[in-house]
C-alpha cells in the first residue's frame, strides 16, 4: 500500500499526471477513487475488495472525466485486458494514461464484503486466472497471493446449459431475461461499451424496442452479446451491476468461448494482437455464409 501511495504521490507532485484513478475506502467498502492532490494519495488502497474495473473510466463516453486531463490508473491484471481493448480499438492513446499495475491474487465478488479472500469467497472470474501482474503496466507494485485454481463455476454452468436441448435453453433464458427492466446498467459500466450513441438508444428507426417485454429484452441482450463478441474481457461488471440479478456473464462467456474456438482469439493485455472483428483471414470459418 505504501509503495502504491508513494508512487501516486510522486506522479501527482511531479505533474506527470493530474489525477490518479484507484480505489479508496468508501462508506460501503472499497470504491473507485479520483485523487487529484499529492496528499490525497494516502486515500488509495488495494486489496481483495477492489473488484471494480476502472478501465470503464478511460472510455471516451465519459466526457465529465475529461476535465481531469492526463490520468494514471491503478490496474489489476484482468483490468489490463480492458485497457488493451480500448487501445486496440483506438479509443485511448497509450501515451495518454500512466498504468500503475498492482499484483493481484484474486478479488471477492462484493466490494462491501467483510469476508476474507478464500476458495469460498473468490470471484468466479478469478478461478483459474493465471495473471498475477499486468504486462501493460508502466509501474508494478505490491505483492500477490498465489491465485485460485479453476475451473470456474460459470464455465461449468455454461457446459450444463449447452448440454440441454434447445427448448430447455430457451426456457432458461426466457425466464432470466423476463426479469430485465432495461435500465441498461450493464452497458453503462462496460468498459468496452463506448459507442457515443448506442444502437439501443436510436429511435429513427427504433432498432431495438426499449420496452422491458420479452421481445425488447431478447433483442437487447442478443445485440449486446454480438457486439461484445471477441471484445468482452470478462471483468464481470455487467453481472455485478444488474439490479435484477440476471447472469449476464453466462452469455458473454459463451460467446467468448465460441470466438476462441473459431477465431483463436482470447482477450489479452497485448493491444497489438488484432481483434477478430477488425481483421479478416482467408482461412476464417465462413461456412455460415450462404
Amino acid at each position: 500500500m505504501t509503495e502504491l501511495r508513494e508512487l501516486a504521490r510522486r506522479l501527482l507532485s511531479e505533474g506527470t499526471v493530474n489525477a490518479v484513478l484507484g480505489w479508496e475506502e468508501g462508506p460501503r467498502g472499497a470504491r473507485p477513487a479520483f485523487v487529484t492532490t499529492p496528499d490525497g494519495a494516502d486515500r488509495l488502497i488495494f486489496d481483495h475488495r477492489c473488484v471494480h474495473n476502472l478501465a470503464s473510466y478511460l472510455s471516451p463516453r465519459r466526457p465529465h472525466l475529461k476535465r481531469l486531463g492526463k490520468v494514471a490508473m491503478v490496474l489489476k491484471p484482468c483490468d489490463a485486458r480492458a485497457v488493451a481493448g480500448l487501445i486496440r480499438e483506438t479509443q485511448v492513446p497509450r501515451e495518454n494514461v500512466v498504468l500503475i499495475g498492482v499484483r493481484c491474487g484474486g478479488v471477492v465478488t462484493d466490494p462491501d464484503s467483510d469476508a476474507t479472500l478464500s476458495e469460498a469467497t473468490v470471484a468466479d472470474r478469478c478461478r483459474g486466472c493465471p495473471d498475477r501482474e499486468g504486462k501493460l503496466a508502466d509501474h508494478t507494485v505490491g505483492t500477490a497471493g498465489p491465485g485460485f485454481p479453476g475451473p470456474s463455476h460459470r464455465a461449468q454452468k455454461i457446459e450444463e446449459l449447452a448440454a440441454k436441448p434447445a427448448d430447455q435453453r430457451w426456457a432458461f433464458w426466457q425466464a432470466e431475461l423476463e426479469k430485465c427492466v432495461r435500465c441498461h446498467a450493464c452497458r453503462q459500466v462496460c468498459p468496452m461499451c463506448f459507442c457515443d450513441r448506442c444502437l439501443a438508444d436510436k429511435t429513427q428507426p427504433r432498432w431495438i424496442e426499449s420496452s422491458p417485454h420479452a421481445r425488447g429484452n431478447m433483442a437487447w441482450h442478443v445485440a449486446r452479446a454480438m457486439h461484445l463478441a471477441g471484445r468482452c474481457v470478462d471483468c464481470g461488471e455487467c453481472e455485478r451491476v444488474c439490479p435484477q440479478g440476471i447472469p449476464l456473464g453466462l452469455i458473454t462467456r459463451k460467446i467468448a468461448s465460441v470466438v476462441a474456438e473459431r477465431y483463436d482469439f482470447r482477450p489479452s493485455d497485448d493491444p497489438a494482437v488484432p481483434a477478430p472483428v477488425g481483421t479478416y483471414r482467408m482461412d476464417d470459418p465462413q461456412e455460415f455464409i450462404l
Binding site: P27, R28, R31, P32, R62, H64, S211
Partner: protein, 351 residues
C-alpha cells in the same frame, strides 16, 4: 383512524390463506431464484422473508416497468385508437417496509398533479398495504432524516409490530379497517403497545444519526448551489447506469414509446426511465441541456431534496438507502447529504 388490534402469527398465516382462497392476490418479500429477496407474489405467509430489505421496492406494483396504454391502427391517413381495458384486481401486500409504503404515498402527489394517473390510482385503490415495522437498518438507512422511521405508518393501511406471540396491529386507514373487519376471527386481543416499545427503539437507534434530520438546510443549499463544483466532484465515479433509479422506491420518471407490431398497428407504452442517462434529456436537435454526468447527478439530488419539496412540500426520498447499496461505484447518498449539511452549516465538507 387510530384503532389497534392484535394478530397471532398463526392467524397471519391463516389470513394469507384466507385471502388467497378469496381470490385476492398476495405479494410480499420472498426469496428469488438467484437468492435475493424481492417483493413478489407469494402463495403462503411462510414464503415471506422479513429480516432483509427487499432488493426491489413496491413501485412496480403501481407503476410497472412497462405498461401498454392503448393500441392504435392506421387506416390510410386516419388513426384509430383502441382502448386497452384496464382492470385492477384486489391485492394485499404483506410485509411491506415502512420506507417502501411511505414512498407510494409520496408519489401520490405527482400522480395526481396535472392530471390523475388512472392506472396508478386504479392499482392504489385495489391494493391494501400491510406493513411490518422495520427491525432496523444498515449504515445506508436514514429514514429518520426524512421525517419517517422504522415504525412510520405513512402509506400503510395496517402497521404490524412484533409483540408477544404475534403482532400488535395499528389500523391506519379505512382500507385497513375493512381488511380487519372482513376477517374478524383472525384478529383479537393480545399484547399492547407497551410490548412493542423496545423493538421500536432498537430499530430507530440503528438508523438514527446517519444523516442529520435537516431537510430544510439541504433544500436551501441545493437551491442556491446549482453551479457548485461539488456536483462535478461527486459525479466523477458515476457511470450513469441508473441502477439507483431502478432500485429507488420514489424515482418514477417514465418514457412513452409507440411500438409498431404490424405495418398498420402498434401499441403505445410507458416504460421506466431515468435522469441518469444522456438520452433522457437529449433534444431532437442534437442539443443536450445536461451535457454530462455532473448535471445528471445534480438532478437526482435536486429533484429529490429541492424540486419535489418546492412543488409538493414533500421529500422525494424515504431514506431506504437502496441507491447506496446498489451503486456499482460506491456513490452514497448519505455521504452526499452529510457533505451538503456540513457545507451549509459552515463545517467544511470537502472530500
Amino acid at each position: 383512524m387510530s384503532t389497534t388490534t392484535f394478530i397471532r402469527t398463526g392467524d397471519l398465516k391463516g389470513l394469507v390463506a384466507d385471502l388467497r382462497a378469496a381470490g385476492v392476490g398476495v405479494a410480499g418479500p420472498a426469496r428469488t431464484s438467484d437468492g435475493a429477496v424481492d417483493y413478489r407474489s407469494i402463495t403462503a405467509f411462510d414464503d415471506v422473508v422479513l429480516d432483509a430489505q427487499p432488493r426491489n421496492s413496491l413501485k412496480q406494483f403501481f407503476l410497472p416497468p412497462t405498461e401498454p396504454l392503448f393500441k392504435y391502427q392506421r387506416k390510410g391517413s386516419d388513426v384509430a385508437i383502441l382502448e386497452i381495458s384496464a382492470t385492477f384486481p384486489p391485492r394485499v401486500i404483506v410485509g411491506a417496509r415502512p420506507c417502501d409504503a411511505a414512498a407510494v404515498d409520496v408519489l401520490d402527489h405527482v400522480m395526481n398533479w396535472d392530471y390523475k394517473d388512472e392506472p396508478w390510482f386504479g392499482r392504489r385503490e385495489a391494493t391494501t398495504i400491510v406493513t411490518f415495522a422495520c427491525p432496523g437498518g444498515d449504515r445506508s438507512c436514514f429514514c429518520t432524516a426524512v421525517g419517517l422511521g422504522p415504525d412510520a405508518t405513512r402509506g400503510s393501511d395496517l402497521l404490524l409490530v412484533p409483540a408477544g406471540d404475534g403482532y400488535y396491529v395499528e389500523v391506519v386507514t379505512e382500507k385497513g379497517k375493512r381488511l380487519v373487519d372482513a376477517y374478524p376471527k383472525r384478529f383479537g386481543a393480545g399484547a399492547g403497545v407497551d410490548a412493542t416499545l423496545s423493538y421500536r427503539e432498537k430499530a430507530r437507534a440503528s438508523v438514527e444519526g446517519h444523516v442529520p434530520a435537516r431537510p430544510d438546510v439541504i433544500r436551501q443549499w441545493v437551491q442556491e448551489h446549482f453551479e457548485d463544483p461539488f456536483w462535478a466532484d461527486i459525479s466523477l465515479r458515476c457511470h450513469g447506469c441508473g441502477g439507483c433509479a431502478a432500485a429507488c422506491p420514489t424515482c418514477h420518471c417514465f418514457d412513452i414509446v409507440d411500438e409498431p407490431e404490424t405495418l398498420t398497428e402498434g401499441t403505445r407504452r410507458r416504460n421506466w426511465d431515468t435522469c441518469q442517462t444522456s438520452v433522457f434529456t437529449a433534444h431532437a436537435s442534437g442539443h443536450n441541456p445536461r451535457a454530462d454526468q455532473c448535471g445528471r447527478c445534480r438532478q437526482r439530488v435536486n429533484h429529490k431534496f429541492a424540486i419535489y419539496p418546492a412543488r409538493f412540500n414533500d421529500i422525494l426520498c424515504t431514506g431506504c438507502g437502496r441507491c447506496a447499496r446498489t451503486c456499482p461505484a460506491g456513490q452514497d447518498v448519505t455521504e452526499i447529504l452529510n457533505r451538503i449539511v456540513a457545507m451549509a452549516t459552515g463545517q467544511g465538507g470537502a472530500a
